[in-house]
């Protein structure tokens, strides 16, 4: 039988093992960050053709004649960096959409952003178009415009008179818009010839072979803006995940948090889809796996998901490049083949 004193000690012991949030955040970011760094360093070294690192970094050989350096810096590195950027953007916007919709099953594509992006890309691929916008070539530019259009429509529909968005209307509008845009995509493809349809279908599978650093540099500013907004959201997202009304009574400006969350997550998703096509499952599998490892506090889940999303997509793309080499599997197929069963396992396990 415990005396009062030992009960007191037992209770205080039960509170102290929980490391303060600062420490947990630092440990999580350091751990996941190291993993991301490791993946991004190792991934470019592996591929269907082996490269000699000493030759690749040998500055006495001119770059034009240095095949090893060309494979490393032109073929592989942009692809790994694109994977890291897209994975981080999709996983973190998945976290934000799940909190905004108070639904752990939401994905970055639930609200129609990717369907809009796909329709834009399809139109340019099939009807043709040469309009490059700034650093964006025609297909990504159109996909960005389509994503923006979809986000604007959903936003206008869900923007309620009480200035607080209805998550039900958001979900219904998103699902409907997804179906509507998908029908338009099918219609546009019906009008196209065989080669164009093949190219369009390939785009829809997602592809990190972005062909250099320029497309990455074009997408980067959008993702950075989104990330700067993300940094200010997690505490409010935590409270909205408890209950929107009580979040308001705890000092959260719910209407404005919803708008910033919607805008930033849509921006990051649009940039990712414009860069690499709609790569599925990252935005839902990664946040769930991260919550399993570090708990549900958004202040930790959000940065951890961004880092782990980067790792996960780079690793999936590595598999896509090497599994059936020299044939490449579309990376969206790999993420779905890994992500689908894994997610079902999660559901069974949690249910």
């Amino acid at each position: 039988m415990m005396t009062d004193g030992t009960i007191q000690t037992a209770i205080s012991a039960s509170l102290t093992p929980l490391r303060p949030i600062r420490t947990r955040l630092a440990l999580t970011v350091a751990g996941f960050g190291a993993l991301t760094l490791l993946t991004c360093v190792v991934a470019p070294l592996i591929g269907s053709s082996s490269i000699n690192l000493r030759r690749a970094f040998d500055s006495s050989i001119p770059f034009a004649g240095n095949v090893d350096a060309q494979i490393l810096f032109i073929a592989r590195l942009p692809r790994v960096l694109a994977g890291a950027l897209v994975g981080a953007a999709l996983a973190s916007s998945g976290v934000v959409f799940q909190a905004l919709l108070r639904n752990p099953l939401a994905t970055p594509f639930t609200l129609g952003v990717s369907a809009g992006a796909s329709l834009g890309a399809m139109l340019v691929i099939i009807l043709g178009g040469t309009l490059a916008v700034g650093p964006w070539s025609p297909v990504p530019a159109a996909s960005l415009a389509g994503a923006g259009l979809a986000a604007a429509i959903v936003y206008a529909l869900a923007n309620g008179p009480r200035r607080v968005m209805s998550t039900t209307v958001l979900l219904l509008a998103g699902v409907t818009l997804n179906a509507f845009f998908s029908a338009l995509i099918v219609f546009v493809q019906y009008l196209a010839n065989f080669a164009e349809v093949a190219r369009a279908a390939r785009w829809l599978m997602g592809d990190l072979d972005v062909g250099g650093f320029d497309p990455i540099l074009a997408a980067l500013p959008l993702v950075i803006v989104a990330a700067l907004i993300f940094v200010r959201l997690p505490a409010a997202l935590n409270l909205m995940g408890v209950d929107p009304d009580s979040a308001s009574s705890r000092g959260v400006n719910v209407a404005s948090t919803q708008r910033w969350a919607f805008f930033s997550a849509s921006l990051a998703t649009s940039a990712a889809v414009a860069l690499a096509g709609p790569i599925g499952f990252i935005g839902i599998v990664v946040p769930h796996l991260v919550r399993l490892l570090v708990g549900v506090d958004h202040r930790i889940v959000l940065p951890a998901s961004a880092l782990f999303g980067a790792t996960f997509l780079v690793a999936c793309d590595l598999l896509a490049r090497t599994l059936l080499a020299p044939v490449e599997i579309p990376v969206g197929v790999v993420t779905a083949i890994i992500g689908g069963p894994f997610f079902l396992w999660l559901l069974v396990r949690e249910g």
Partner: protein, 272 residues
């Protein structure tokens, strides 16, 4: 209304209509209600379903803005105060809480510190000490690391009250805090609230359907029906058989219970 009650937390002729999508006007939930709550008092809001109790509570918490009229706290118009500033003075305990994510009890309680922190500021040892104190005073310290969703109804409600206490509010607004609890937990939560009101000098406003609970805890009652204030005054003056008939169309026996030490209400039959 005492002179002090007219300056602490006051609703001045407030009306509220829930907006309807795509239509002008709305569903009137409250019309022209004036109500003053004195510092340190325990006020009960009574009335049938749909009478506007919850709406009035949300207006007094500043969660909703009145369509007409104003709510003032210590002379300041609540609608003009930033949410964070208002949340440092008043906290709400909702009827029930269904988090979308699997937070632990401690995480829920620590979120009560939100209005005291900057948006990107992480809570420190001081906040953890306050959370711990709140868990202690609601008897839930041993539940700190349990997932909130694994707790019983009574435990959840006490954790939510702890979260509101971590906000260090001067006013606690409670929406039927015992409605989903069994008799044992009802008494437990009731005695917790009574203790908080007495020992911590927290002003309480509680919407409830439980007339006996209101009789045992509240020193003042406000009776609402169809979005209007019928009566407001000391519990002993307001809680009468006539009031019960007027509010619920129910004949009731209201008398002072010696052992319980407060008025009790025994419904007898539907009036009419």
């Amino acid at each position: 209304m005492t002179p002090e009650s007219s300056t602490y937390l006051v609703a001045h002729e407030v009306s509220y209509a829930y907006p309807r999508r795509g239509r002008s006007g709305g569903l009137a939930a409250l019309s022209g209600v004036s109500l003053g709550v004195a510092r340190g008092s325990f006020t009960g809001l009574l009335g049938p379903n749909g009478c506007g109790k919850t709406t009035l509570l949300k207006l007094m918490a500043g969660v909703l803005r009145p369509s007409n009229g104003t709510v003032t706290f210590q002379g300041r118009v609540l609608a003009d105060m930033p949410r964070r500033a208002a949340a440092r003075h008043m906290a709400v305990v909702p009827q029930d809480t269904h988090p979308a994510f699997d937070y632990t009890a401690l995480e829920i309680v620590l979120m009560g510190r939100h209005p005291h922190l900057r948006p990107t500021q992480l809570e420190g040892p001081g906040d953890l000490a306050i959370a711990r104190e709140s868990l202690e005073s609601t008897g839930t310290l041993h539940l700190a690391h349990r997932p909130f969703t694994s707790l019983s109804g009574g435990e959840r409600q006490r954790v939510v009250i702890a979260s509101a206490l971590a906000q260090q509010p001067e006013v606690l607004l409670l929406d039927e805090p015992t409605a989903s609890l069994d008799l044992g937990y009802q008494l437990e939560v009731a005695s917790l609230l009574r203790r908080l009101s007495r020992e911590h000098d927290v002003t309480m406003v509680m919407a409830t359907h439980d007339l006996n609970l209101a009789a045992s805890m509240c020193d003042a009652l406000a009776l609402l029906r169809d979005g209007r204030l019928l009566r407001h005054g000391l519990t002993a003056d307001v809680l009468t058989a006539g009031s019960v008939r007027e509010l619920y169309d129910v004949e009731a026996d209201v008398h002072f219970h010696q052992a319980a030490g407060h008025l009790t209400v025994t419904p007898v039959r539907r009036a009419g």
